[in-house]
Symmetry: C2
Subunit: 274 residues, 2 copies
């Protein structure tokens, strides 16, 4: 049976590209207009796997998505880093001066806000998806509206690219993860783990845990503290590590399990960074 | 001479409240419709101080604001934690069913998105400010449009609150900082510092620094790694610590300066957490 992949956004979006990279062009897609809907699809089993953006170079971690994965006990089974290119596109026969509104995903608007400083006549409107706006412009023949979307969306929906690469930071890498509800079978061909734990506000407690992980040859690639809501002076830590030897990871796991509170593995998978 | 305080947003916003808490109700305000504009006002000296939101319980750190402070070498001289309450407000004589669009700041929309799931007929539109929308609804008599703003905005602009406290997480604390361009004179009556440094991807390097800070009795209240753009495997760390003894802080400063690269103090100030 073919697996159904839930993606945030529509066909032609970056999430779609990640789904194709992992599972091939002919993948069965479920287009979701929000990350909440995507998680709902996994929970009600109308999709088997989900693709979620988790962080990017400009805005940092997408904390609400960490919360979705954490609260619903999803498992990360893979990751991919994608260099994001935003292109401004609209119906044929218009120049950028003819554009009155740009509709796009809040993250895309944020990443291109520098570009639009030159065009104060353009109103930026938050929308649920990048590619879906391209689709609507095409289907509903929307004059004066532009989308910010990947180039593939212009091809699919026959729009004209008014300006290439309008993102402020040209090297804008976004990290996507593949998630599922079931705990995957243990796999030894992995070299990265995402874990979460809590610590009381005791001096040196984080350093002690990082020392233990370092002794087990774990390489830290990400760390982020978040105050635990409603519990003053208690912090959650989201930590990613890479490693060469799965046995060392198991050792680190056992140590952190003893040293930290509320220890949880969000996923063990293959490092997506080349 | 009275100081001019640049705030993100308009009179009636949470940034306005923080300015009043620090400098009194009669403070001279400069309303800025973006954080970039706010920083421009500090750089061209049309304002002396700025109030910036830096992180909140729900979305985590506002990374672009960290980048503004870092890139323009601003100095943090104070902080305040505010419990944010979002209220839905509109012109008199309307029910929530009459509302077609809600205009607000992306962060406010994000924090209330659960509430609007019950009202799929309402379109959420990104706007530059919470309080400024309330002002425009009032001045331009905008029927069918609602604002998400602090209660004080409903009072100032004579709007009716349709629903109180619509944010998903009721205990939503936001951290604001006061920034300026000039380096402040050394002050010993401080107990919190925000620092930034870089580390190469060498196993144990972060643990070593945290150990050194812990030895100097620094309490970590925040840590966040960000990959350094265009430099693979290099990471920036933003770290906040609290301390009791300024001498111990100076010792920690000297140690981290030796151990880390690109070490920088973003500010030393009074802890805003009671």
């Amino acid at each position: 049976m073919n697996k159904i992949i839930a993606i945030q956004g529509a066909r032609g979006s970056n999430h779609h590209k990640v789904a194709c990279d992992f599972y091939g062009e002919s993948v069965a897609l479920k287009e979701c207009m929000s990350f909440d809907t995507l998680v709902d699809c996994l929970l009600d089993e109308s999709a088997n796997l989900g693709v979620m953006a988790l962080e990017n170079t400009i805005a940092g971690s997408i904390i609400p998505n960490y919360a979705l994965i954490d609260n619903h006990n999803l498992h990360i089974i893979g990751e991919e880093y994608l260099n994001i290119h935003h292109h401004l596109m609209a119906l044929e026969g218009q120049s950028i001066q003819d554009i009155k509104e740009v509709w796009s995903h809040p993250m895309a608007l944020l990443q291109c806000k520098q570009f639009f400083k030159k065009y104060p006549h353009i109103k930026l409107v938050e929308d649920v998806d990048t590619a879906d706006v391209a689709k609507r412009i095409s289907k509903e023949n929307l004059v004066g509206i532009a989308a910010i979307a990947p180039k593939i969306a212009a091809e699919i929906f026959k729009l004209v690219v008014l300006e290439d690469d309008i993102q402020t930071i040209k090297d804008n890498s976004t990290r996507f993860v593949i998630v599922q509800t079931a705990k995957p079978a243990e796999d030894f061909d992995v070299n990265k783990a995402s874990i979460k734990f809590q610590l009381s506000h005791k001096r040196g407690s984080l350093a002690a845990i990082l020392n233990a992980m370092s002794d087990c040859k774990m390489n830290l690639t990400k760390i982020q503290s978040l105050p635990v809501i409603d519990t003053p002076w208690k912090y959650s830590f989201f930590v990613d590590v890479t490693f060469d030897d799965y046995k060392e990871y198991q050792k680190a796991y056992s140590l952190v399990e003893i040293m930290a509170e509320e220890f949880k593995v969000l996923g063990v998978y293959k490092n997506g960074r080349k």
